[in-house]
């Protein structure tokens, strides 16, 4: 198994289709295959151990990804938003490497040993020259499947970032199990706006290319540019993180009824964080012809492991049954190739409806970090550290990281239930609940709330709202009004930053 096998099939099956870029003038599958071959020779000749990239999305991304696979070297997309110092530290950990850099900042790794920086434009020029000299080399990639295909550095909450290892067999299993070869029509195009260093950015390239869907890239997300690109490139599907969808909905809303909507967009998938219920409800109403898909997955699981499909969305939205309606906030059902089990703290499976830790098992699940003991259990289960529960129809409800659970007076309280009540209010734009040290209760609940524009809710209003809908121990002990909540650039709420910012609201005891 090798990622190159997927591209070889695509080039053999529909080599003349455009793989990446505009319909006119984009890279065809055959050309992508040839360039990957040329790149593989360059990577091998360099005598490096990794091919890294600290750059925004471009056609160089799939070329380097597949070129690295052909050369049997792991591909390492690095977060180009890191400071020079942070970037140098990560690049140093994978030396000797070739590191493709953004032409706007080509000197970022100057003087850092073994990182082999090369400007993206230079790389593409060299490959075009090399490719002109002859046909692609013979397929000689390793088919064993055990080699690392992609390393993704996770933004650890403490200490050094860990490098998640995705082997060829994990990623190939994921694609074969979830994507139909050439399942896309020739007119289909997918817009990718998540960055390469996010697992969804990698999965987007692999899945769409195997389906035969043209990939259009938006290097830096901006709602206006995203909407513009959907319209100009007649985009038929896209994947976004929650913060992106929130901004897209606001943008379309501001265009008003005279806006031209997104008529070509057949499918919109979202994931990578908790989607605010008001955002998804508004999006469903605004885009009645678009099929919505919620994808739940982790870096360590090679992307998606559970899906809430289009039918489930519309059914939930239309239902009066609160249980069915609640599915709008669920991750849907596991993929056919994935098993999900909810476990208690001792690793025993809990009853349907009971909360616990989400465990997953399947061939795409890696659960492995470079240099650390595997997180998989002996029988192949991966404890995700996400809390969640399964409903009676098998829908998976994910409640957030277990580490984020607030423990007040011995009771476990999931921040998400409090947050859902708050963000559903008209006078609240965004909200987060965290636990801060409290001598009497262990932790106290602090809600950080961003008021909606022009609204001025009081702390009492919000506490009453939570008290009226949830058990009384869920009521925030304190409500702090803030201008904005801290998010990562891929839309994850940074709770540790929030906890640090609001540390003065605890009483200084340690929990």
């Amino acid at each position: 198994m090798n990622l190159m096998m997927l591209l070889e099939m695509a080039a053999g099956g529909f080599g003349e289709r455009v793989a990446i870029g505009p319909r006119d003038g984009g890279l065809t599958y055959q050309r992508l295959y040839d360039l990957a071959g040329t790149a593989s020779r360059r990577f091998r000749d360099a005598g490096v151990e990794h091919v890294a990239m600290a750059d925004v999305s471009s056609e160089a991304l799939p070329i380097a990804l597949f070129g690295a696979a052909w050369a049997d070297l792991p591909f390492v997309p690095l977060n180009y938003r890191l400071t020079d110092e942070e970037l140098a530290a990560l690049a140093g950990r994978i030396a000797p490497a070739i590191t493709v850099l953004d032409p706007d900042a080509p000197g970022r790794l100057d003087g850092v040993d073994g990182t082999g920086p090369i400007d993206r434009h230079d790389l593409l020029a060299v490959l075009a020259d090399g490719d002109a000299m002859g046909k692609a080399p013979e397929p000689d990639w390793d088919m064993d499947g055990e080699d690392a295909a992609i390393l993704l550095f996770t933004s650890g909450t403490t200490g050094e970032p860990k490098a998640a290892v995705l082997r060829h067999r994990h990623l190939v299993s994921y694609v074969l199990g979830s994507v139909e070869f050439m399942g896309a029509g020739e007119e289909e195009a997918a817009l990718v706006s998540v960055p390469p260093y996010h697992v969804a950015g990698m999965a987007a390239i692999l899945s769409n290319l195997y389906a035969g869907r043209r990939v259009v890239q938006l290097p830096t997300f901006d709602a206006a540019a995203w909407v513009d690109m959907v319209r100009c490139e007649a985009v038929t599907s896209a994947m976004v993180v929650p913060t992106m969808l929130t901004r897209i909905v606001e943008y379309l809303d501001a265009e008003g009824p005279d806006g031209s909507g997104l008529p070509t967009l057949r499918s919109l998938s979202y994931g990578g964080g908790k989607m605010p219920r008001p955002t998804i409800e508004q999006a469903l109403e605004m885009l009645p012809h678009t099929a919505f898909v919620n994808a739940y997955g982790l870096t360590e699981t090679s992307s998606t492991v559970a899906l809430l499909g289009p039918e489930d969305h519309r059914k939930a939205l239309a239902s009066d049954d609160p249980g069915v309606r609640a599915r709008l906030g669920s991750a849907g059902r596991p993929l056919p190739t994935i098993e999900v089990s909810i476990r208690d703290g001792d690793g025993n499976e809990v009853a349907v409806g009971e909360p616990g830790e989400v465990w997953v098992r399947g061939e795409q699940v890696s659960g492995e970090y470079r240099g650390l003991a595997p997180r998989l259990t002996g029988d192949g289960w991966f404890p995700t550290h996400d809390g969640g529960w399964l409903d009676s129809d098998g829908f998976l409800h994910v409640t957030g990281r277990i580490d984020d659970v607030i423990v007040k007076g011995g009771q476990n309280i999931s921040p998400s239930e409090i947050e859902e009540v708050l963000v559903a209010r008209e006078d609240v734009a965004d909200a987060a609940a965290i636990g801060l040290p409290d001598r009497q209760w262990g932790e106290r609940i602090v809600a950080a709330v961003v008021p909606a524009p022009g609204a001025a809710p009081t702390a009492e209003d919000l506490q009453d709202a939570v008290r009226s809908l949830l058990r009384s121990n869920r009521t925030p002990d304190h409500v702090e009004f803030v201008d904005a909540l801290p998010y990562s650039d891929t839309g994850k709420l940074l709770r540790r930053v929030l906890r640090a910012d609001l540390a003065h609201l605890g009483d200084g005891s340690t929990t």
């Binding site: 198994m1 090798n2 096998m5 070889e8 099939m9 053999g12 099956g13 088919m143 064993d144 499947g145 067999r169 074969l176 199990g177 979830s178 994507v179 139909e180 070869f181 050439m182 399942g183 997918a190 969804a200 999965a203 987007a204 692999l206 899945s207 769409n208 389906a211 869907r213 599907s237 994947m239 499918s267 998938s269 994931g271 099929a291 898909v293 994808a295 992307s303 998606t304 899906l307 499909g309 289009p310 993929l335 056919p336």
Partner: protein, 101 residues
């Protein structure tokens, strides 16, 4: 008999089919079009397509045995049907999933 392991490639001796093993280990009598398949790049033999194994292979489709011990991915289509010995492999029907990436 050929040696099956994930990633191993085989070519048909009765038609244009080429396949990759997704799942399966050990010795097996992998056939296409009724004729034993050869490891890719290895020696090929002239075989004749058997009418009993001529439903064809489809690009990108996966084929499995009844016991689910082997899974074979077609990477180049042809006229022959895949089989272990005389037992034809069946098409692995997968319900299409909505695009999530």
């Amino acid at each position: 008999m050929v040696d099956l392991k994930p990633g191993a490639r085989f070519t048909s001796n009765a038609c244009a089919s080429e396949v990759i093993v997704v799942k399966g280990t050990g010795q097996a009598d992998l056939r296409c079009g009724g004729v034993p398949m050869s490891p890719a790049g290895g020696e090929s033999v002239d075989g004749e397509l058997s009418p009993d194994a001529s439903d064809g292979t489809q690009m990108g489709k996966r084929y499995v045995d009844d016991e689910d011990t082997v899974e074979i991915l077609c990477t180049k289509p042809g006229e022959g049907s895949l089989a272990l010995g005389d037992a034809l492999l069946g098409l692995k029907e997968a319900k299409p999933l909505p695009a999530s990436d």
